[in-house]
Amino acid sequence: MDVDQMQRRFADYTASLFREGFLDDQFTQLQQLQDESNPDFVVEVVSLFFEDSERLLNDLGKALDQQIVDFKKVDAHVHQLKGSSSSIGAQRVKNACIAFRNFCEMQNTEGCLRCLQQVKQEYFLVKNKLESLFRLEQQILAAGGSNPMME
């Protein structure tokens, strides 16, 4: 596959991510911030996001597993996750977090567990997608093309 085709595939893939709501406007902003002085900005931010989120999801699982659930703590974790996901534009994760927070407010353990599942699902989906995207980017760079993330 030549570079142009790969670039087109990259563009299509990105467009589909936007279309399906996995990513929103904010991701575009991140792409804009990537420049010569900061060539790996997006990857760095996204990796940080992955680390943060996995830690938070773990903590959430533990917190909801307790006999007596500390909803304040759960809410704090979800708030963090929501902030992170909205900062990188992971729209579906963010929306799932919003729903999660509602259940926290209502102190509904069942609902929270369900939401946690939902958030995990969305997170792993978007993680998958982003990892594929980065792989594509690497391929393009390896083939000598210009970085597709930087317009």
Binding site: L30, L33, V45, F49, H79, Q80, G83, S87
Partner: protein, 732 residues
């Protein structure tokens, strides 16, 4: 047989006497024998005769006496020795028993007498008990009266009825001749006769309140006897030949509650009393007895209690209502908050896709397209524009409704606004072959201060309606200054546009020769979602919100909007007046006199401090600011931030949603730490929620701006530019 020595009685001579003696003896004996029998019979009958053995003795005595007398019967004729012996025995026995009985009686009679005394004593006691019974009965009767009174008085609830009922019942219970109620007048200086029992219409007698007799009654809490000739008691001008009955007066406390605080039921300031006067029937020689006076007092107390109870009930009702209202208010507030939250989310969520659709479709339009494709794209563009407008309208209206919309005051070119509207409307108008003309009054200033965008929106809406509802003819727009005369619109008779040194009133009139409106429909035009039913609705593609929004904008601009039409087919004239500021005056501080037309692209050397506890968010903001050339320092906790902050920093971006700390507190601490105002860094808040309350709180602690996360590159650029130029993001 030897006859005895007794002289033989001369039977014939004393025969009569003998006969009488004989008969008497016989009867005596009979009586003597029957007395004990009677005694025995009756004693047997009675249960408690204590002296039975005395009876026996007595009986024996009598029997023997009887026997003696009986045996005497035989002595009148010759009798044998046996009879003699029997008589002697009997007499001896009798003598013996009689002596014993006599001796016994000495012993017994005092006892019997004491019995008599006891009997007398018991009788007295019985008489006393009788009297006491009489008293108790009277009391019981009084009690019954009181219960009746209570029942009657408490069965009514109205204050005046309570007092009148008291009067009536007292009159009935005590059989009074007259019963009158004197109430204090409004001035408090006189007592006015307000009700009497017998008189049907009390003519407004008044009596000054400071009479000594009245003071006497008012100062005592008991019923007081007053002389029958005192002014309050002289109700009927009858000839004085009647002996007036006794009169008693009692004070009736009046409740004087001026306000109904919920938790602080005021003390009964009963400085006001009414006077109740009760008169016994004249010529009846009745006197006011103790228990009757007490009855009167009880009745007064009852009526007072009944009034109090009624007031308490009113208070409870008010409290309940207050609680219910409070609940309703809180529910309403919750609903409003929920709606605002929803709107805040939908705001962003709805506009973003719309924006994408419109942007991409317009981009598409620029590319090479086949005619059919072009048509399709144009349709998409048109529909999405309409949708965007609709969304904006609805969101705007909701914000307008709860008063959270604020005008964006800028200086703008008034003439240009109108010209732009005409430009926008010209294409459609020329398709419909309508001619559009504007005329400006000569004294209309060229520049004005106001909300340019919304003014244009209003004018566009009205002109657009004129074009929409006209099939042919012409549209004329006239703009000028409103004269300070009352509007001819009946719906706003109080609207006087009064110009001042800093403001003038713009008057715009749009006349069209179109379909017109039925005058009866005009009031409904400005209601939300109402469409003019007489127009073919298939053509109308509006939401019916346009005029409602215009009305609200006009109201925000302290103006008035109205529509006149002669009728269907006769065209219609829409006019509005709004208040605008006069440009060129320097009494509008803090307004953007000239909009920022040069936004800095880069900010080299600008030292910025970030406070955010979310790693990802921190990194993104840092990347953003570094891309713009700033010198960025990141901190992730309030302690770190307070340690690091110094006058070196120009701007601090602070995330408000940090867990466990209040961004407001940090801002206050920073401002405290750096006392010199010009050395302080400009603090800007980053938050996911930019509602009114958050904004107010931020500005209150001294922050210079509030930004909605996530923030785009362009927005950050303009924010930094504005901060550097004006020192604040706040528009007053």
């Amino acid at each position: 047989m030897e006859s005895c020595n007794c002289i033989e009685p001369q039977w014939p001579a004393d025969e009569l006497l003998m006969k009488y003696q004989y008969i008497s003896d016989f009867f005596i004996a009979l009586a003597y024998f029957s007395i004990p029998l009677e005694l025995i019979y009756f004693v047997k009958k009675s249960a408690l005769f204590p002296y039975r053995w005395v009876l026996v003795q007595f009986g024996a005595f009598i029997v023997l006496c009887g026997a003696t007398h009986l045996i005497n019967l035989w002595t009148f004729s010759t009798h044998s020795r046996t009879v003699e012996v029997v008589i002697t025995t009997a007499k001896v026995l009798t003598a013996f028993v009689s002596c014993v009985t006599a001796l016994m009686l000495v012993h017994i009679i005092p006892d019997l007498l004491s019995v008599k005394t006891r009997e007398l004593f018991l009788k007295n006691k019985a008489a006393q008990l009788d009297r006491e019974m009489g008293l108790i009965r009277t009391q019981e009767e009084t009690g019954r009266h009181v219960r009746m009174l209570t029942h009657e008085i408490r069965s009514t609830l109205d204050r005046h009825t309570i007092l009148k009922t008291t009067l009536i019942e007292l009159g009935r219970t005590l059989a009074l001749e007259e019963c009158a109620l004197w109430m204090p007048t409004r001035t408090g200086l006189e007592l006015q006769l307000s009700y009497t029992l017998r008189h049907q219409n009390p003519v407004g007698f008044t009596v000054p309140i400071h009479l000594p007799v009245i003071n006497q009654v008012f100062s005592s809490d008991r019923a007081v006897k007053i002389p029958p000739n005192s002014p309050v008691a002289r109700l009927r001008h009858i000839a004085e030949k009647y002996m007036p009955g006794e009169v008693v007066a009692v004070r009736v406390p009046l409740l004087h509650l001026s306000n109904f605080q919920i938790y602080d039921w005021p003390e009964l300031s009963t400085k006001r009393y009414a006077l109740m006067v009760l008169m016994l029937p004249s010529d009846s020689a009745r006197h006011w007895r103790g228990h009757e006076l007490e009855l009167v007092q009880v009745a007064v107390a009852l009526s007072h209690a009944a009034i109090l109870e009624e007031s308490m009930r009113a208070r409870d009702l008010l409290m309940e209502q207050n609680v219910a209202l409070d609940l309703a208010r809180r529910e309403a507030e919750t609903a409003i908050r929920a709606r605002n939250d929803f709107l805040a989310v939908m705001n962003h969520e709805m506009r973003t896709p719309m924006h994408a659709i419109i942007a991409l479709s317009s981009l598409l339009q620029e590319t090479e397209l086949k005619p059919e494709q072009r048509l399709m794209v144009e349709t998409i563009l048109k529909s999405s524009s309409l949708l965007a407008t609709l969304i904006n309208d609805v969101l705007d209206l909701s914000r307008l409704e709860d008063g959270s919309l604020e005008l964006d005051l800028v200086t703008f070119n008034l003439h240009a606004v109108f010209k732009e509207v005409v430009q926008l409307i010209k294409p459609i108008a020329s398709v419909k072959k309508l001619s559009v003309s504007i005329s400006f009054a000569l004294d209309l200033p060229e520049y004005a201060i106001g909300d340019e965008k919304r003014l244009m929106q209003t004018i566009l809406n009205i002109v657009g309606n004129a074009v929409k509802f006209s099939k042919e003819g012409s549209i004329s727009i006239a703009a000028g200054i409103a004269k300070s005369e009352p509007l001819l619109d009946a719906r706003a008779p109080d609207f006087f546009p009064v110009p001042s040194d800093s403001h003038f009133y713009l008057r715009v009139q749009v006349k069209d020769s179109g379909l017109g409106i039925n005058p009866q429909e005009i009031p409904k035009l400005f209601n939300k979602f109402a469409q003019n039913q007489s127009v073919a609705n298939r053509n109308s593609d509006g939401s019916g919100l346009g005029l409602a929004i215009c009305k609200r904008f006009v109201n925000l601009m302290e103006g008035h909007i109205w529509i006149e039409s002669e009728g269907l087919g006769k065209g219609c004239t829409a006019s509005f007046i709004v208040k605008l500021g006069i440009a060129g005056r320097s009494n509008e501080p803090d307004h953007r006199v000239v909009p920022l037309n040069r936004v800095q692209a880069n900010f080299p050397g600008l030292k910025v401090l970030i406070l955010d506890d979310n790693g990802v968010s921190r990194m993104v903001t840092k990347g953003l600011l570094m891309h713009l050339g700033c010198d960025v320092t990141v901190t992730s906790s309030t302690d770190e931030c307070l340690r690091v902050v110094s006058p070196e920093y120009n701007v601090v971006f602070m995330d408000l949603g940090m867990h466990g700390t209040s961004g407001y507190e940090v801002a206050m601490r920073i401002n405290e730490r750096i006392t010199k105002r010009h050395e302080r860094p400009l603090i800007v808040a980053l938050t996911g929620n930019t509602d009114r309350a958050t904004k107010d709180n931020c500005f209150r602690v001294g922050m210079k701006g509030v930004l909605l996360k996530p923030i785009s590159l362009e927005k950050m650029r303009s924010v930094l530019s504005e901060l550097l130029e004006r020192g604040t993001l706040r528009q007053s």
